[in-house]
Structures are given as C-alpha cells and as structure tokens.
C-alpha cells in the first residue's frame, strides 16, 4: 500500500502488491553468441544480473554492448545461447512480448515520438499492460476509458518521480536533451519492469547532468528496488554507482567483477588504453 515517504512512492509496484515484496528474478545471459554473416559480434558471453543490483556493461566502441542489449530485448536472435529472466526464456519469446515479462529499455538515441506529448510517449510503455483496439478506443467504451485514466495517472506519477511532471502535455521534442532522456527512462519504467536496461544514458550529457543522472539511477534502484543493467562509456558514472561490472572487448567477455577489481584488471586496462606489450616492446 502507498506508504508515507517524501517521494510520490517512486514507481511503487501495482497497488495490490506491497512495495518491495515483488519478486525480482535474475537476468541471466547464458553463452550467447551473435553472428552477422562472418562477423562475430558476441562470442559465447555469459553473465548474470543479480536481483535489485546495478550492473554495468562496458567496453570500447564495437565491443558488442549494444548487440548484447538487442539480444536481451529480442531485437536480435542469438546464433546460440539463451537469455533468461527467472523462469522465462527471453530468447524464445517474440520480441514484442519481452516487455510483458518485465523488461524495460531506454534507448541510446532518444527513440521518442517528438511531436507527441510527454504523457503520450510514456503511455506507450503501458502498451502491454493495457488492452483495447481501434473500436474500443474509438467508441470510448467506459471500461477502456477508465483503464486509460488509471494508467495515465500512473504514468504521470512516474513522470513526477523522474522530475518531468511539469512537462506532461508538452511535445517531447521541445524538451531539453536531459529531460528527453528522462522521458525515455520514464517510458521504460512505465512497463513496470523487474529489470531496467539503460543504453548509454549519459551519452551527450555534461558533467553536472551526468552527476544528476547518477543520482537518478540510484533513486530508481533504491526506490523501485528493481535490477538495472546499463551500458555506459562514462567510467566515472559506472564506477560510482555499479555494484558489478562486466567488460566486453571484441565481442568477448574479459572481466566480470566489482568495480574496484575491474578497474585494476590488466586485461581491461589493455582494452581501454591499448596493448601494454606494444608499449614495452
């Protein structure tokens, strides 16, 4: 039930489930290989995202991070291996049904409908939680419109939580870049995910915006107590907030540990700064 925290119960689970009691399954990437023609974009990668943790996926450009995201959300079919969320096998699920299993994703390149209002964009996240086709909306069936209002209120709540509540009725395209990122995240949260995927959330942000974002991600993690998997270039952000870091290079997993350990890993340093042997040679 709604508790009395200062925040408007950040993304409280549906009211019939007590906050925090929702079961958060483990997201497991098991031996996933993705090939495009002759190119191996992901090579037998395995790691798992522990429930309610913040897990970062890093690596140089072209390391296969986005491919990995697309494999998890079903946009790409892995050549072999599978991705599971609890008992559900995501890689066997039609891509448009992955959201229903509790996977929310924010995009790297702001995949918003620029001309539509913020509320309209966020409501897209409620798509798999709602029903009703052309006629039930066209005829404004009372049941459909009641559900629509309930979901709109929830969407507005999520927007409030992300600090974009004042912009509900403005077109998403006129907001600042940082606010558009928030709309994108709000839409992903509107799915009521158990695991939230963030694709380079800090891309294109300045230092203070990035700091704010780190705050926000932590707020989401503690407020909603869901798992978060994020792809990120910004090392400062990753090392500051992640519980665990997985490092990819050329499609292969080269490290998977806590930030402190990964930071000192020679393989990781080599991947980011170039070959050490070359320098010493």
């Amino acid at each position: 039930m709604p508790d009395t925290t200062a925040h408007p119960t950040p993304g409280a689970p549906p009211a019939d489930v007590p906050a925090g009691a929702r079961e958060i399954p483990t997201l497991a990437v098991e031996d996933v290989t993705v090939r495009f023609g002759g190119i191996v974009a992901l090579d037998a990668v395995s790691f798992s995202v522990a429930p309610r943790s913040i897990h970062a996926l890093i690596g140089p450009n072209g390391a296969g991070k986005s491919t990995c995201f697309n494999a998890v959300t079903g946009i790409y079919r892995p050549t072999s291996g599978r991705v599971t969320l609890g008992d559900a096998v995501l890689t066997d699920t039609p891509p448009h049904q992955v959201a229903r299993l509790g996977v929310g994703r924010a995009f790297q390149n702001l995949a918003l409908v620029a001309g539509s209002s913020v509320l309209d964009n966020v409501m897209l996240g409620r798509y798999s939680l709602t029903s009703g086709g052309f006629l039930s909306y066209g005829l404004r069936l009372p049941r459909t419109m009641r559900a629509e209002r309930r979901h709109e209120e929830r969407a507005a709540e999520i927007c409030d939580f992300l600090g974009i509540g004042a912009h509900l009725h403005r077109p998403a395209g006129v907001l600042s870049y940082g606010d558009q990122k928030r709309v994108d995240i709000a839409r992903a949260l509107a799915v009521e995910p158990t695991v939230l995927l963030l694709d380079e959330p800090a891309a294109g942000m300045n230092a203070s915006e990035t700091a704010e974002l780190a705050h926000l991600i932590r707020d989401i993690s503690t407020g909603l107590s869901i798992s978060i998997l994020l792809v990120e270039h910004d090392m400062g952000l990753v090392m500051g907030i992640a519980d665990r870091v997985t490092v990819l290079d050329f499609g292969r997993l080269i490290a998977d540990d806590t930030p402190a350990v990964v930071q000192k890993d020679p393989a990781v340093i080599r991947a980011y700064l170039g070959s050490v042997e070359e320098e010493s040679a």
Partner: protein, 399 residues
C-alpha cells in the same frame, strides 16, 4: 461521457510529425493537491462546441441551396476517405496509393449486398443499413488481407505495391460486370433507408420552414453525421493506445517492439482501418451518384482511378500528415474547389468541364491550385494546413 475529453489535451500534438513549440500552453498545469493534473478540465466547453456544431449542420440544408449541398456532400466523401488515409500515412507511417481501390471495394460491396439480384446482377437484397456496416467490414478485411505485403514493405516500395491494387480493381470490375456493373451503364444500389426514412427521397412530403427536405438535404444530414462519427471514432483511437502504437511504429520500429507493440500486426491494423474508412467513403460515393455504381473505363481517370488515389494523397499532404482535421480541410481544397469555382463564377456546377473559351477550366485551375499548394506546403510548412492552423490559434491566444 466526460471521459472522452482527453483528446483536447494531446490531440493537437498527437497528430503532428514535426515539433511545434507554439502549439502548447507554456504554463502546463502542474499537480494540484498532490495529484498530477492529467486531464485539464475542458469537458463542458468541448461538449458545448460539439452541440453547436450539430445544430449548425442540422440547419445548413435549410438555408443553403441544393447545388452547394451537392458540393458539401462530395467534400464529405473525400473527408471520410482522407481521414482513413491520414491515419495510415501520417500516424502509422505507411504510404498507400490504393485508396481508390478500397473506395471501389466499399461501393461494390454495398451495391451487391443491398440491391436485389435483378437484371442479371448479383445482389443479396439485405437491409441497407446492414449492407453499409458489412461493406465497411469487408473493406477492412480486404485491407487486412494486404498485410503480407504491407507488413514487409515500407515507403515508396509499399506505395508502388499498393498502386497495383488500383489496377487489379479496375481489371476485376471490367471482367465482372454482373457484380460491378458494366463500364457503360453501371448498376444501381439502393438508397439508405433508416426506419422508413429514405435518404434518397426524390419527391419529399417532409418540409421544414417551407423548405422541402429532399435528397440533397437528406444526404447532407447523413453525410454530416457519418463524417462526425468517423472523426469521433478516429480521434479516440488516434489519441489512445492504437494511435500511440502507430506513431511508435512510424518513428522507430525497434522502440515500438521493445515497448510491446507487434509492428507487423499494427501495420496491418492501420491498413484495415484505413481501408474501412475508404470503404465507407466508397459507399458515400455511390449514394452521391444517385446510387449509380459504374466502373471506370480507364485506369487513370474516373471515380476509382489512380487520379483519385493521388487526389487523396494530395488531401492528406495539404491538410498535414496525420491530422484528422487537416484531412477534412484537405478534402475541401481538393474535392471542393473544382465544384465551387464554377458555382461562384457562373452559378452552375455543370460548368465544371467547360472552360468558357479559355484554357483555364475550373478543373485546370484546381489542378494548378493544389499543385502549387503541395509545393508550397512541402517547402514552407511540412506540417500542412493543420500546423498552420495550430500556429495561428496559438498566436491568437497570445495576443
């Protein structure tokens, strides 16, 4: 029924493909008493406006001469069809040049269902209202049956593929005269008859304020009602879950999929809805011609030709892609001007094709006008007349 009014809140923005800062109130209402203001309260005013509109539309036939009514009803057939097309192209992002084919499907379906099978024609003799509903449903089904093609192709490729349907329809109508009527004399469909009220009444006994309510007046009421219903239904769907799915499919298929939208399915739904609207417009076309259904002799000119398909495209571009109100205005421009120019200049719409000695017949003038309009709109206001209208109202509000 106060639930319906969210349309105003997101309506103007929902249809636009572009971003227009001017169209929103700068002071977005914030939460009151802790709850976010999701629904601005404009319910009362909106229902008053709808009521006023209905009253005006009811009075129009009593004051407007018959010839202007004929122009208005023709514009409304265009408006209904264009609303369907603007949803398909502007909301779901799928190009179609097959709209005139679906007009034919609707018209033929209604004629076959409603007329009784005399004179060697196929006819089922069903009640006319039922025939209307079924004709719309059949058009939707035919549109959905195009899904294997529409789901795989996009952009200009889909446009060209859909164009083939116009040729298919033209050929089928020619080889099946027992269904579609012959290209020389056609066949006749029944007027709509609702509870004994015949919308095609030629010798009316009913009169209001001394004005006999004949076919022109009755068709105006019927078409106005159908246009309002078509708009109302489309508005609700476009502002709701379906519209959101279409816009997501249009702008980013990957994002739509990740949010739970089946892209292939929504593309086919959009095609079915658009075809249903075209089918309804097709039935309206048949009534407008006094019930005459006559296939075209040539594929590129006539009632169901490629020229009509392109005229519909012109309507939705002029009106503003994705805008329902724009589709209505676009229909008035494209279908209205060729009929209204001779009425205003010569007081007689039969002068449509005569040029009065110059090369500039009303038809030519109209083609020039909407050719120029399209070029101007694409260059200066890609949002069409809808975006222009929004800018103007925003400016008026501010001053």
């Amino acid at each position: 029924m106060s639930e319906t009014t969210r349309a105003e809140a997101t309506g103007p923005t929902a249809g636009a493909t572009g971003v227009d800062a001017a169209e929103t109130d700068s002071a977005a209402p914030d939460g009151q008493g802790g709850m976010p203001a999701v629904h601005p309260r404009r319910d009362r005013r909106r229902w008053l406006l709808w009521g006023a509109l209905v009253v005006v539309l009811f009075l129009v036939p009593i004051y407007l001469p018959g010839q202007y009514l004929i122009v208005s009803t023709w514009v409304m057939t265009g408006a209904v069809g264009a609303m369907g097309l603007t949803m398909l192209i502007g909301q779901a992002g799928q190009l179609s040049l097959a709209h005139s084919f679906f007009l034919l499907v609707g018209g033929v379906s209604y004629t076959v269902l409603s007329s009784d099978g005399t004179d060697g024609f196929v006819g089922l003799g069903l009640p006319t209202a039922l025939s209307l509903v079924l004709a719309v449903a059949i058009s939707a089904a035919v549109g959905a049956a195009f899904a294997p093609v529409s789901g795989r192709l996009t952009g200009i490729y889909l446009g060209v593929a859909s164009l083939s349907l116009v040729f298919l329809g033209w050929w089928l109508a020619r080889v099946l005269p027992s269904i579609a009527g012959s290209t020389s004399s056609g066949r006749y469909a029944d007027d709509l008859n609702l509870f004994g009220f015949d919308f095609g009444e030629k010798s009316p006994t009913l009169a209001i304020l001394g004005v006999p309510i004949g076919q022109n007046e009755r068709l105006f009421w019927l078409y106005a009602a159908l246009t309002l219903i078509a708009y109302f239904v489309a508005r609700g769907a476009v502002d709701g879950r379906v519209g959101r799915a279409w816009r997501a499919v249009r702008d980013n298929e990957a994002a739509a999929t990740v949010m739970g939208v089946s892209v292939v399915r929504q593309k086919s739904v959009a095609f079915a809805v658009s075809s249903a609207y075209a089918g309804l417009a097709g039935v309206m076309v048949v009534w407008w011609y006094d019930g005459l259904l006559k296939p075209d002799e040539a594929v590129d000119s006539g009632t169901y030709s490629t020229a009509v398909a392109i005229a519909y495209l012109a309507m939705v571009v002029i009106g503003g892609l994705g805008s329902l109100g724009g589709a209505i205005v676009g229909a008035a421009v494209v279908f209205g001007t060729p009929l209204i120019i001779p009425l205003l200049s010569q007081g007689d719409s039969s002068a449509v094709l005569s040029s009065g000695g110059t090369a500039f017949s009303p038809v030519v003038i109209t083609y020039l006008a909407y050719g120029a309009l399209i070029v101007l709109i694409v260059l200066f206001e890609p949002g069409g007349l809808a975006a222009l209208g929004r800018r103007l109202t925003a400016r008026l509000k501010r001053s």
